[in-house]
Symmetry: C2
Subunit: 250 residues, 2 copies
């Protein structure tokens, strides 16, 4: 497999950086090609704005989708976006490596979705979900979180982890990826907010690394998270099973 | 009331901009003070990174939370963050006005959470949720979405709107806000992706504006979305009701 790891953490020495190194080593050791896409190191600009598009389709009104489509069709996308798309086309497996900040990915990675997954190119009204651009490819989120696992259970104090990752998983599925169950490393507090005893803290990190290392070899075979798909929706985009018209006697 | 509207759209002439103008007009007309915080116009940088902190508590390893706390305590926060916090302290009602991009807020607003809601200042392990910094204040998301309302129903093709907004609502509650039910304006496609007939498109926008305008006067009285709170969790951060120890005969 060709594997792209998109890393979104401001400190390369962080645990997120360590999980990235571990994935590179483990994957290369089993014959895969790996590229690391360090968004902070590359200075990726996550803000979708008019100045990215010097040759506007509409210079009076800035519509991101209009400009994305026009620039994709003319092969005039911003250079950083074109580079990211090239990497995605190359990769069979996409790993998003990030810390959970405010119940979501850091802004630099949120804007990677906003800018890189261009309308008219990587998706359209008819090219989405199980008819998406990247169908046949796999994606997985490897996430770190500060609080313990049990607080992320349903109704726990830190909130249900499944719900925090649902928008990201759905966005990956939107462009056609088969989305694997996430790898979550809990109780990863970066310097200064370590409320656990130092030895227990280090033992936890080692266990989290080991769990990731052991799982990596199976990523090519795992089944993805099930999603509803075109076959499930009627022409209005409503779930067929919930449409009472479907149950009329024929 | 003092009302702060945080606007996150790259085009000031957009429908999001129009909803902002409408809210300003309606609120001022009924005697409230209103400030508009246009993140794009102010060039807000949403990326939390080391360069925002010239006087680091730890210059060898960049931990956002460590630096946030240290700089808050020394009153040396980045100027843009200090300005945003001043606005939040002033406001009784916070309106977040944004388009739904990739099942969430645009990156410029995601990073506003990452950078402005500083650890050690606006929250800590004991100052969160219903004991949060902004308790007594209210917040509401006013969101625009491209697809029709029925596709955002549970299992609809565009996904359940309640789920897309849940991370944002939870983040607002995390710092103590009473979070009002969102105002969602559906079928708002910016230029170029209008797949509806022009007249119907304009009539829909007018109806969405009217709905917002009519609701605004009640924002000071509405009840917020209910959340679980400290009283519901045991010392491990698990919902008491789900802990079998609670149901032992006493």
């Amino acid at each position: 497999m060709n594997v792209l790891i998109v890393l979104a953490h401001p400190e390369r020495q962080s645990f997120n950086g360590g999980l990235t190194d571990l994935a590179v080593e483990t994957l290369r050791g089993t014959g895969h090609d790996v590229e690391v896409d360090d968004l902070y190191a590359e200075g990726f600009d996550p803000v979708e704005r008019a100045s990215h598009y010097p040759q506007r389709a509409n210079s009076d009104y800035f519509s991101p989708l209009t400009e994305q489509r026009a620039h994709y069709e003319r092969k005039r996308l911003p250079p950083d976006v074109a580079r990211e798309i090239g990497r995605l086309e190359w990769a069979d497996l996409l790993i998003l490596q990030f810390p959970l900040w405010w119940h979501a990915q850091p802004a630099i990675l949120k804007g990677w979705f906003d800018r890189v997954l261009v309308y008219g190119g990587l998706y359209s009204g008819s090219k989405r979900y199980n008819r998406g651009h990247f169908r046949g490819k796999r994606a997985i989120c490897s996430v770190t979180a500060g609080s313990p696992a049990h607080t992320f259970m349903p109704f726990g104090r830190a909130g249900n982890m499944v719900e925090w990752l649902w928008p990201i998983h759905s966005s990956l599925y939107y462009v056609g990826y088969e989305v694997l169950a996430p790898q979550v490393s809990y109780e990863v507090q970066s310097g200064g907010v370590q409320y656990r005893e130092e030895t227990a803290f280090r033992e936890n990190l080692a266990a989290m690394k080991q769990a990731w290392s052991r799982r990596i070899p199976s990523l090519a075979q795992e089944s993805g998270i099930p999603f509803t798909s075109w076959e499930d929706w009627d022409n209005d985009g409503v779930l067929r099973a919930t449409n009472p018209m479907r149950w009329r006697p024929s």
